[in-house]
């Protein structure tokens, strides 16, 4: 039977699968983190059918960070390896961007490690280019 997938807000009962997807990608299980994300962010979306979560995306609108006008930030995206190359990530990003537009912003940004070739290539394929910011850090 064909299971219809749809994008909707993440629910508490999705969290175990989100933790599992994230752990498969990053190698780290972070149940407390995802519980906090689900409580804190309205723009935590999942691509799911009746029983299975295939991917997730999380974002928010941030205002005037370092002088930047309000814009949408994507700070997590994950898709099960077997669901990739089927427009799952594209659908999730499009849904999040639509939610950003409804909140009145016309720019979306993200930040990720430069050795994360897979996700970098995904965002590039969605038309994202280098932003006019430089990420900096130092040891404490």
């Amino acid at each position: 039977m064909i299971q219809l997938k749809k994008i909707r807000r993440a629910r508490r009962d999705d969290l175990a699968q989100v933790v599992e997807i994230d752990a498969r990608i990053t190698g780290l299980r972070k149940p407390a983190y995802w519980k906090a994300i689900q409580r804190r962010y309205r723009l935590f979306l999942v691509l799911a059918d009746a029983t299975r979560v295939h991917g997730y995306i999380v974002g928010e609108v941030r205002d005037w960070e370092f002088g930047s006008p309000p814009c949408g930030w994507v700070f997590a995206i994950g898709v099960r390896p077997e669901a990739r190359l089927k427009r799952a990530g594209t659908g999730l990003l499009e849904a999040l961007c639509e939610a950003f537009r409804r909140r009145g912003v016309d720019k979306v940004r993200t930040l990720l490690a430069r050795d994360n070739a897979l996700v970098l290539a995904f965002f590039r394929s969605q038309g994202m280019m280098a932003a006019p910011f430089i990420a900096l850090e130092r040891d404490l």
């Binding site: 430069r114 970098l120 290539a121 965002f123 590039r124 394929s125």
Partner: protein
């Protein structure tokens, strides 16, 4: 950031081939379009062929074609056939403030590598389609 002439020619050639995957291209056609000599371009295409990025067939209906997956092959894959992005840091002993300067240059190299490595041929072709044609 500048690429060597050979590298730029190689990138443009591979992108031209990937844009029309079913069509064979002659070296003359690409050379004419990018203002290079046929002899020079043939050398560039020879290196791409040896790297497995293009195929070449002789005779009628022959020519050069892209032989990779444009969704997988990145700009870095093509560039690396011709030059080493980030090769500026020589291994010789550094004098005075050279080490500090090298650290900044390495930072630029890493960013360039990540940029080239994250853009597939298909993504670049998509970008080209969005730009207004001159």
């Amino acid at each position: 950031m500048r690429l060597q002439k050979n590298t730029l020619l190689a990138l443009c050639s591979v992108l031209e081939f990937a844009r029309q995957p079913g069509r064979p291209f002659s070296a003359g056609e690409i050379a004419h379009k990018y203002g290079a000599s046929v002899h020079h371009l043939a050398k560039v295409l020879g290196r791409l062929r040896r790297a497995g990025l293009v195929t070449a067939a002789r005779g009628s209906g022959g020519g050069y074609r892209f032989s990779g997956n444009p969704k997988r092959v990145t700009l870095l894959d093509v560039i690396c056939v011709f030059e080493d992005v980030g090769s500026g840091n020589e291994k010789r002993a550094k004098r005075g403030l050279e080490r500090a300067v090298d650290q900044v240059l390495a930072e630029i190299d890493e960013t360039a590598k990540a940029t080239f490595g994250s853009i597939t041929l298909e993504t670049l072709l998509k970008l080209a389609r969005r730009q207004p044609s001159l």
